[in-house]
Symmetry: C2
Subunit: 422 residues, 2 copies
Amino acid sequence: MLAEIIAVGSEMLTPHRQDTNSLFLTAGLNDLGVEVGFKTIVGDNSHHLVEAIHNALRRADILILSGGLGPTEDDLTRECVAESLQLDLISDADTVLALQARFRARKMEMPPNNLKQAQRLEGAELLPNTNGSAPGQWLQTVIRTADGRTHPRLLILLPGPPKELKALFAEEVRSRLEDLLPQRFLARRVLRMALIPESTVDARTAPIYSRFKDIETTILAGHGEIQLHFLCAKDTQEEAEDRVNHLAELIESEMGDDIFSSDGESLEEIVLLMLGLRGLNLAVAESCTGGMLAERLTAIPNASRNFLGGAIVYSNELKSSLCKVPSKLLNQHGAVSPEVARALAEGIRDRTKSSLGLSITGIAGPTLLDGPDADKPIGLVYIGLADEEDTQVKRFMIPGDRDRVRLWATMHALEMLRLSLQ
Amino acid sequence: MLAEIIAVGSEMLTPHRQDTNSLFLTAGLNDLGVEVGFKTIVGDNSHHLVEAIHNALRRADILILSGGLGPTEDDLTRECVAESLQLDLISDADTVLALQARFRARKMEMPPNNLKQAQRLEGAELLPNTNGSAPGQWLQTVIRTADGRTHPRLLILLPGPPKELKALFAEEVRSRLEDLLPQRFLARRVLRMALIPESTVDARTAPIYSRFKDIETTILAGHGEIQLHFLCAKDTQEEAEDRVNHLAELIESEMGDDIFSSDGESLEEIVLLMLGLRGLNLAVAESCTGGMLAERLTAIPNASRNFLGGAIVYSNELKSSLCKVPSKLLNQHGAVSPEVARALAEGIRDRTKSSLGLSITGIAGPTLLDGPDADKPIGLVYIGLADEEDTQVKRFMIPGDRDRVRLWATMHALEMLRLSLQ
């Protein structure tokens, strides 16, 4: 089964807006065994849209159109599908009543334009939209190609706003597609690794995963992370799961501790989980990352169980007043030094009575305040980790711009903490 | 002038990868007065690609193809353009030598496949790629449509990796397009507003900007912000700038203080700039936002001039130990209360000797630790701002999930600070 997606809307032909619905739709279709063969982005132009629909229907079994179902003159999807397939548009009485009720509930007069949204394609089923005024449409039809042969085709019209489209797909479209398509049982696994080059991961894992022809493996890299995604479809759920679990085990035994998560969890989640299992809590002292490490940890619900908080010690004065770093140490070694990283980790641990203190100090650039110089170039970062027994300090050189240095510094800090909790 | 963009590559038909090159290309083309009328994403499938090229050449003056210029069998762009236009591919001797030199410099043997990358379309000019092995191609040609008429067409082939594509566009394509197209002088302005509904901004500004037919106005909304983008093309730079400045003045006088930035700066930049102008410095105390406010401020280079740092007081103990909040106050009113917001702002100011103390305490959800209850629902946030004279505290109810509550809380805090510095 092959699908195509047409995203309708002139805003997606500007530099400011992008079609993201198709990523969501592609994931949903792939789950049902349907591949996407072509994507088109068309403006609010009936000539272009009719042509795109024609071309898609020649090639694909399923055509999903997103957008162009609003009440304005620019919303042309219904009309263009009708023209392409030479179908009538029929005003749907129930939808008219529902639209009127929707406006009444908001104490607004319904503009006559909105009646457009009640127009159903001849033969189509309307899909109720609980998040907006435009219903979707589901149309199974038959087309005839130039060679005289006929082909069954499914057209699905969905509203453009992602929230409406996603809800409609989940509530109305998915189950109808399941009824139409042969049943498949899917299993997935996601293994995640931090701070390793993609080429290294690929060199070590490709000899393994490439032997599993029945598993689709995708490597995604970005933000200091590598993810290996496995997807397998079988006749039973158990068979599919056994298969991905078997591959995951082989990869885990190859990559060992480099894998921080074997079921998709983020590095922050894993670290908080490990702190919880060990009954420990954490406080941080951040200089160049300015709160990013704490922000990442507190983005996880219930982080407060094992994360106390900490100090953002951007100025030297705060390094002393909040983390008890002696000003002599700062003067002697500078703020970006192993000595200060150690003092920050120990200081925040002491000040907050936490089991662990984690500190970051470094030069994110591009500022010339407080460095960099030949000894202390942009990208130099020291990370300290103090527990009740001792304090370890590591030095990192992180290439890239300010954003990258800051992000990677937090990755290194989380990874250092994870490995110490292993 | 109308352009189309075809992005070539099967990975962009998965849920994991998206064509982002077209946003960059669209911005570059728009600057030169060229609109994009259609975008297509095609997999590594020669049948589909030839068809997409045919369709595009019927409709558009300029066709840009990105991707499919690599050395593998899946890289089909050169071959498919040749087939569509019935042109020969000619091995370019200089490019063969350059490819061989590139591999020699890396002490690698060149695989025979790479010779594909030296194939030039008959009549095309090769565009040297300083960041990769595939040169781009520039081909001015003429096509004949079904009605027998001929049309001039420009095809531009660019490599898919964004870094290579962007450099090639900047270094080779832009100047050639400028020579080909009538000269235009462009002026832009970006006005930014925080925490106002898009519909309110549009209702108040549309009567003004819609009178300026020669200015393209785009409204972008997201992350608690509204941006108004103005773009004007005229025969002289001065004329274009006078025009956008005139519109910007009218909008500024309508929206007044709601506009935080009239030349594109972020809210963080503006706040830091205002602190600098007033000779003030800032420290923060964050509970539910867990470092996000500090992270946003320190993302700006040289933030350290006016930002000292602060405390992340996720636990009640740290509210007391780092910000001197009396535990009696915490017991009596709870951590999420106007009293504690006030004590945090005053406490961090006092502890750090900063001119201003800014605090956030709230319920981000979805956790049930420490609330929420009927009195203190998810989304309830108090923000405190202390200066040497007094402390103001404001209450906000922010709808949405954890991420949204946290982000909007930092927006409210920055906006409260900005208005107090006005």
